[in-house]
Structure formats: structure tokens, C-alpha cells
Subunit: 200 residues, 2 copies
Amino acid sequence: MPAPVEFYFDFSSPYGYLASTRIDKLCENHGRAVGWHPILLGVVFKETGGAPLTTIPLKGDYSKRDFVRTAAFHGIKFTPPPVFPIPTQQAARAFYWVQQQNPGAAKALAKKLFEAYFAEARNISSAEAVADIAASLGHDKAAVLAAVNDPAIKDRLRQECEAALKKGVFGSPFIVVDGEPFWGSDRLDQVDKWLETGGW
Amino acid sequence: MPAPVEFYFDFSSPYGYLASTRIDKLCENHGRAVGWHPILLGVVFKETGGAPLTTIPLKGDYSKRDFVRTAAFHGIKFTPPPVFPIPTQQAARAFYWVQQQNPGAAKALAKKLFEAYFAEARNISSAEAVADIAASLGHDKAAVLAAVNDPAIKDRLRQECEAALKKGVFGSPFIVVDGEPFWGSDRLDQVDKWLETGGW
């Protein structure tokens, strides 16, 4: 069985959200599973000198317009988050905690977190907000609140960020197919063809 | 008759080159003309803090790979330039000089310059190289060499860069359709739909 396609993203990344709504189905069409890896872009930007898109002169205003337009182009529900960007370590930690128990449930939680932030204008930066969303999916709220402060879970997220950097991940979404890196939701057409043809 | 679609690019921009091979036909399909505007990304980057893609840690290596892969994905001939990026003011000045006499001929020159740099591994940074390419299209070489040092032509390029910045142009390619800005060759699918529908 081929290795899963690796999907790296930050929960605060609009293009990560857009890709998250399409990546599983796209890979499934080629008989491939997807491994989801939430990371912290802040950690990556320390290495690359990157900055949140919306803080860059000219590019910032364009980006806010492009988020909305690109979501609509693909028919994806999108509401500009009132607070942007936000810290996402609590969301990512909750993801990895759930994943230890049930990978499928972790993916469901990730989708719910993305939706809450990018379609329902909810701020998902606090442990409380993340735990509430997890609870709505049947997870124990107190256990989630404990998990995001668990040193082992914190360490897991650190390791994921380091591993991502080592693989060359510098943005979100970032997709690796059999060693071939693709950056951006606008590379999903190439990911699709790469999975079909094995490369060119 | 509707205003032309505005196409901004730097002759040293790989994604500008990729877009240049597709933009005219795409707009023509919707009965629209395209105004080509070579600019200098260096001037824009002073405003936005941008930097040539290939100089950025991690992103640089990825970009070099993505140039080649994306060109092949679209079936566009591409040879990685041995020297990259390069200064392009001579190319842009020659373009505006030819345009004053014959807009169609200026577009033909731009295509030839792009091809020389991105498909034939020729360095087009010097006035001599630009004049040789112009001469191969029937322009008078000595006149081109004089034109790129003409203060009026130099001023025209400066004005184009300033006007582009005022319109919010911060990268290459940058396409404006009836006031709506699109950045990147990977937005041509949205440009196509925007021209078809008038927006969404």
C-alpha cells in the first residue's frame, strides 16, 4: 500500500482551510490516504523570514480579497475571521491528542475547527474554544483542557513542526506526494495530475 | 468597447513568462484585448519588503522546482536561466520605445525576450542583448541602443512602475480585469471565469 499523502497546514491559514475541504476526496480518487499534520507557521516563519500575508503592504489588502474570491470560486463557504491571524497551538495540540486515540476522529475535529474559524467567525485560539468544539463532537471537555497542557502533547507538536521544517515545509497548505512538494491550495490541480501519472 | 485587461510583469519573472504565453488567447476568447506593462519588481519590492523568490530560505529551492514543474504541467517550454534574477530595465525600456511606434510589435518583442531568457538560456540583462533580439525582429539595433538611454524612455518606465504601485501591483504576473486584481499565473483560471461572468 502506498504511503499516505502528507498534508501540512496551520489552523489559521485560509488557503490551508480551502485545501482541507478538497484534499481527502482528491487523493481518495487515486486510492490514496492523507495524513493531516497541523503545524505552527510562526515557528516556520522564524526560519524563513516569512510573515502573515495580511500584514504585508499591498499584498495584505489583496490577500483578504483573494481569500473570499477564491473560496467562492471553488464553492467553499467562507466568512472572513474578525480576528486574523490567531495562535493555533491549542487547536493543533487537541488534534494530536485525539489522533493518538483515533486518527479518523482527529480529522473530523480538524474540519470542525477550520469551519468554526473560517465559516462561522468563531475565534478558536483559546483552549476553552477548542475544548468546546471537541466536546460538540463527543470528546470529554475536561480531558481536552488537560491534554493541551500535557507536556507530552506539547512536545509532540514541537516535533511535528521540526519534522515539517526538515522536509522543507515553509507555508500552508503544503502537500508532499511521494517526496514531491506542492505549496498552496492552487497546486491541487498538479497534485491531482501527479497522483494520476506519477510525475512528469 | 471594454477597456483592455491590464497585464503587469517583470521580464525576470518565471511566472510572468508562464502567464505571457497564455494571457492573450485567454482574453481574446472573451473578446478582450490585453495591455502589456513590463515593470521592475525591484522598485515594487522596496515598497513591500518583497525579495526574489529564489533567495528565500526553503522557498527558494522549492520555487526553482516549481518553475520547471509548472511550465511542464502547462506544456510550456522552460529552461532554468543560468543567471537569475537579472536586471530588466533595458528590456522594459526597449519594449516601451517600440510600443510608441507599434503596440503589436512591442508585444512580439516582449514574447521574444521572454523566450530568449526562459526557454533559450540567454541572458537578456544588457542593452546589447536586448538590441540583438530586437534586431532579429527587424528593429534597427543602433536605434534600440540609443532608445534605452533616452531620458524620455527612462522616464516612461519610471512612470509605469509608479502607476503600477498606485494600482496595488506588488508582484508578477499581476492582472487587472475591470478593476479586479489577480496575482500569479495560478489565478488565470479565475481571470477566465471573471471575464466570462463579470465577477461573483
